[in-house]
Symmetry: C2
Subunit: 731 residues, 2 copies
């Protein structure tokens, strides 16, 4: 369950980068000075939003230890030692070469990839053609082909072998040393069986359905049989007569899909399936290959999600070889990261686990012996990679602060670790080929964005590529503050974000809107530009509201216990923590205690509705977007992890089903649901409306036809006008 | 397209009677005195609504010339000459007899039927059993059986032969003179083929799918093949996982269903289909039998609905015998009434036609010769029947006033006609067996309800069975006024209803809500109790609003030209007339010109939305329920009659498609749609929302899950709270 307003830092960055790549094809326009901003300025999708987004450099990367900086017409190589930029590729040259072999020109150089291990050759895709272009000879050749309607294109590492999906089938294209193309396929012959795509609804860190072996000779892929899963009847209203657009949606406690892992051999064109345990009610996650391309490692999990096993299979025969690691937890274990082998050592790999209460790194031998590499009351967010020797491992962690994401390195022999990035803040780092350099793009509460090239040994000159000016210069922006309060357990520190009007006057009384998410995998209060405050937060503050956000227990990046205290009763502890936030707000002399509102989407929609109903004397106005109303209507993978099944936990489902609280509604509550919401299906809101009608209470409702879980694109401005107006009129 | 707030008088009565029969099993509770009423008091479905409904006597009817008055425990026979009441049936006697033969007791005597032509025998249905009970011998016998889940049960006249449907199939049960039961069936073996049910979506006066011959030997039935009709994907949200509940819904201009007329012979058990013209794009309406049970008459209509033919078929062979009557009209002809044979004369029948501009009676010979029986600038609403000799025909008409429904009789020999009921008002009449007496139940603007027995020759004593007291006695009820203004053509009189607060002060300024329907087949301003004002009208007036209703051109009971001036451009002329109403309102010194709102449902939802968009400087607030937004999304039969097809009339569809006006929205507009609306599918509102989102305008929305076209039952109070609050908060 993710949504734009409430996602973990890395995901948020990825989404924003994608968004920017679309709306900012021509960067560099200068923000006009004005006193206040409109929703068009502040909301992603707004016509003038781009003007207020911190400056950036898109597409920075590495070819070995040379930093690559693409642009529309020119691609530069940057020397990381002295920062010297060389134009190494011109668009006109590339386009001449493409034209010569009858291919479509490129509109920019952002799409070229240095995948051949040298700076002279790049790969690019032109409508079904995989091309190699030589920067020296200025010649392009077509190496292989794929269908134009291909989806999920996945290239083998250092190879032109690729796989893609079309419909429910998987296609594999391999190129031998002589350049001969061989086509293979795994065709779906039954409705509800899908090959080569994401399974388990993107949970357990799953983001793709194909996994090439390091030597490009084999590809592991997911097969999902969801023919036994009940279809949820979404509807497409754009057809001449509205038509069904059903999705297979296994609801908590109900029959779920079955997943298999196949291995396709590009030479023999044979498929072998891993001989796993019965796939009924079993999850197959975090697939990885051994460095020699002979073994496959899968982290398998029972449906109850309280027992995981890292299992090694023989990739040729599909036979199970060993259960390398097992983990159990009375609540749940949640494998989210595949293992990473140590370069140059086929027997050692890095494994991530929350077993000591925080996500930490473990150096394992394939025989199951291990040593813990990191520990402490902080967690590892992400592994970036090794240095060339395989002795130093780079990773992002919260060690500096739960609100930060900083780069660290650890020596896997002696466990010595060191912070690499120097500034407190949220770093996004790209490691060079040898691990000697990084491109470090970071922001913090008061820093819009800085991009530097640095050495990972801390020596040498820092080369500054960009220091964004404040995009709000000259504008009377609301202020943002961070702080902590105690959770409802009176022990745990919770971080909050307080956004105040620019002309804040402590002798006045202000209405407050609490913006909430509150669910796992998300953190809203971060040491990023403006402290995590969204454009909408600023808009509301501009209009005289204080906006308050508190990351309650259950949210991300604070460790396992912080998260799993909500187990089997989602929303209950979270509401208690939010009420501590209300207590804090009420202690502030400038807060108008009679004008407190709340808004959130998805999990935050649940929280909003729950707060409105459980504390109807506190909250005057709420706007809940795409809310979970009844966890029994949510999907199996995410829902059962935290709630178990309705059969196993009837009390929990009963206590958290907001239909049971509907009659408490006193304030103004608007529920917004997307008509084509595939994540949190419209049945939640529709059943809640029905209950409210029966109970003679009066929520308001709005529907966004054609939109999925949250309103993105241009319509997002409409959405925020709708939300804002509701607060203006009622709070 | 009908809805509770806007239906023709007779339909309204039928619906209200049904409603009352459910919510008023024990009549006679006394209204408590209070100063103002709540929605529970004023809205059908409200807990205390029954207290304010005029007193009534339910189930009055005739057995020959004896008036029958059932009650819970006792059934009375009333002598129509002197009004003397005799208890002729006691519930305890009936129940003893039923118990004796092992059948379930009755809870009241409302269900017994005098169908055997004598006062000593009655029929009643007990869970699959057809029983005859003898009032003299006090014995009950089972005559025949049907399945308990049977629907559309239809008895042959003066016979125990019956037909019913189950699923899509038709079942026929016949009983011969020896009492032997013979079962027959016409079974549907394909999804989308339906036997024995209503066809053509209840248009053309069609209200059933089976038609017994007078001698009970044969039954004509509809077969509808709608397998080629696109399904509209409605959704049932009450299932564990929401599931599809699709309906076959042919939209304007698209492929429609095909209808056939079969004749089942109970003796031979054979089915013969009438050899009609190709049923593609053809309507088969108003089926009737010749008195000798040998011929079947059908009024057939082309898809363009501008050419009707009364065709006679041989019931045994299915062969077409003659086209007896043909009608054409450049706009449309709309047959709504089957022919009625003159008693004792197998060659003469009454035919109704609007051919001279008003619905009038014609006496036809089966050879096609005719004479017009009635004429004038008024219309016949309904034929009631003949006297015993077959010389006098009784009918309801608007001759006395377009706001009245009065009983008339006409001598079919000399054409002399006479008004039978004496009072101006809205009469509901039940004719005795010989036509000598009537039960006359009527109301008028100031008369809640009177029920009399009268002689149809105007002589003798009027026997008053009931004179309802004013149910609002002691309550400060809003006042109701009728009046006329000129239509936008500056010629036609339009009737209006003005509802004013009880404490109306002409020196003050009042906000106005216009309640509108505006479409064909409906009349809102009638000479019925409180002049047609609804409970909601009164509620709004009680809260300080003036409520205004105007029956614009296009509405019912004013003749063909009055109705068909809207042809091919539904909503345009109607809006012009409503704006004449606004002009009139603005001329009233006590109307606040800046506070005018509008509300309507279905066609009235279209009108509301159209007025809000076409006159956005006039209307501040609107609430549109189940609106038609785009006539291309409406069904074939009703829609194409008035609009032709989108292919034939692209300009008309374009001009009346409210999506094209969405960007004009300035005021507050709430659209309410039923999630399971089978008449006006939710696509209308959802597409409109999508357009509004694109155009950056901001309607409000509410959805009633599980409800069909309009919100009935207990939830109707919730609906009117929602509507009223919207006006209170915004107007």
């Amino acid at each position: 369950m993710i949504n734009l307003n409430a996602i973990t830092g890395n995901k948020m960055k990825r989404i924003l980068v994608c968004l920017m790549a679309v709306i900012l094809p021509l960067f560099g326009m200068i923000a006009q000075e004005k006193k206040t901003l409109t929703l068009e300025d502040l909301i992603p999708g707004g016509e003038t939003f781009y003007k207020y987004y911190p400056e950036n450099i898109y597409g920075l990367g590495w070819c070995g230890d040379v930093c690559i900086k693409p642009d529309i017409d020119t691609l530069f190589a940057i020397n990381p030692v002295n920062g010297k930029e060389n134009a190494i590729l011109l668009r006109e040259d590339l386009n001449s070469a493409l034209e010569k072999i009858g291919l479509e020109k490129v509109a920019s150089l952002y799409g070229v990839e240095f995948v051949y291990g040298n700076i002279d050759e790049v790969r690019l895709l032109r409508k079904g053609n995989v091309c190699k272009y030589n920067l020296k000879t200025k010649e392009a050749v077509v190496l292989s082909k794929y269908e134009e309607t291909a989806q999920n294109i996945d290239f083998a590492p250092n190879s032109n072998n690729l796989a893609y999906t079309k419909g429910s089938s998987l296609y594999i294209v391999s190129v031998d040393e002589s350049g001969n193309i061989k086509n293979g396929e795994v065709v779906s012959d039954k409705d509800g069986i899908v090959y080569g795509q994401v399974v388990h609804r993107n949970e357990f860190g799953i983001s793709k359905g194909t996994f090439w072996s390091p030597d490009a000779s084999k590809i592991a892929f997911y097969k999902m049989d969801e023919s036994m899963v009940t279809e949820y009847p979404l509807v497409d209203i754009d057809a001449r007569i509205a038509k069904e657009a059903p999705i297979r949606y296994p609801m908590a406690g109900m029959t779920s899909h079955k997943v298999y892992v196949g291995v396709y051999d590009v030479n023999t064109r044979n498929v072998v399936y891993l001989k796993t345990a019965d796939p009924t009610d079993r999850y197959f996650t975090n697939i990885s290959w051994s460095p020699d391309s002979k073994k496959i490692y899968v982290i398998e999990l029972n449906r109850d999600q309280n027992h995981s096993q890292l299992i090694r299979y023989d990739a040729l025969t599909g036979e199970q070889e060993a259960i390398v690691i097992e983990e159990r937890h009375e609540k749940y274990v949640e494998p989210q990261n595949p293992i990473t082998f140590v370069p140059g050592n086929d027997n050692k790999f890095i494994y991530q686990s929350q077993r000591d209460g925080y996500n930490h790194l473990y150096l394992y031998d394939i025989d199951g012996s291990f040593k813990q590499l990191t520990s402490g009351k902080w967690l590892v967010n992400e592994i970036l990679g090794f240095d060339a020797k395989g002795s130093t491992l780079f990773y992002m962690s919260t060690e500096n602060s739960p609100l930060d994401a900083c780069l660290y390195k650890v020596n896997i022999k002696n466990g010595k670790r060191e912070m690499v990035t120097k500034e407190s803040g949220w770093h996004k780092v790209s490691l060079s080929g040898t691990g000697k350099y990084i491109v470090d793009s970071y922001s913090s509460k008061d820093v819009p964005r800085v991009i530097d090239i640095e050495r990972t040994d801390g020596k040498g000159k820092v080369i500054n590529l960009l220091t964004s000016k404040n995009p709000y210069e000259g504008i009377d922006m609301p202020t943002v503050e961070h702080g902590t309060i105690k959770a409802a357990d009176d022990t745990t520190d919770l971080y909050y974000l307080l956004v105040k009007p620019f002309d804040f006057d402590p002798s006045k009384k202000y209405p407050v809107v609490i913006y909430v998410y509150g669910g796992p995998h998300a953190q809203l209060v971060t040491n990023t530009w403006r402290g995590g405050a969204s454009g909408w937060d600023s808009y509301m503050a501009q209009n005289g509201y204080i906006v308050f956000t508190l990351d309650n227990r259950g949210s991300a990046n604070r460790g396992l216990e912080f998260e799993n205290c909500t187990f089997r009763n989602l929303g209950i502890e979270e509401c208690k923590d939010q009420m501590k936030g209300v207590e804090f707000l009420k202690s502030l002399p400038y807060v108008d205690q009679n004008r407190i509102g709340v808004h959130g989407w998805s999990y935050g929609g649940h929280m909003t509705t729950a707060l409105m109903l459980r504390h109807n004397d506190v909250f005057k106005v709420g706007v809940a977007g795409g809310p979970v109303i009844d966890w029994a209507l949510y999907e199996v993978m995410y829902g059962e992890r935290y709630m178990d099944t309705p059969q196993d936990n009837p009390e929990g489902y009963e206590a958290t089903n907001l239909n049971n609280l509907a009659e408490n509604l006193k304030g103004k509550l608007m529920i917004i649901h997307d008509y084509n919401d595939k994540t949190c299906v419209p049945q939640h809101t529709l059943q809640f409306m029905k209950t409210c009608i029966e109970k003679r209470v009066y929520p308001d409702l709005f529907i966004y036809p054609g939109h999925d879980h949250n309103v993105l694109g241009r319509d997002r401005v409409h959405l925020h006008h709708k939300i804002s107006t509701y607060f203006f009129e009622n709070l």
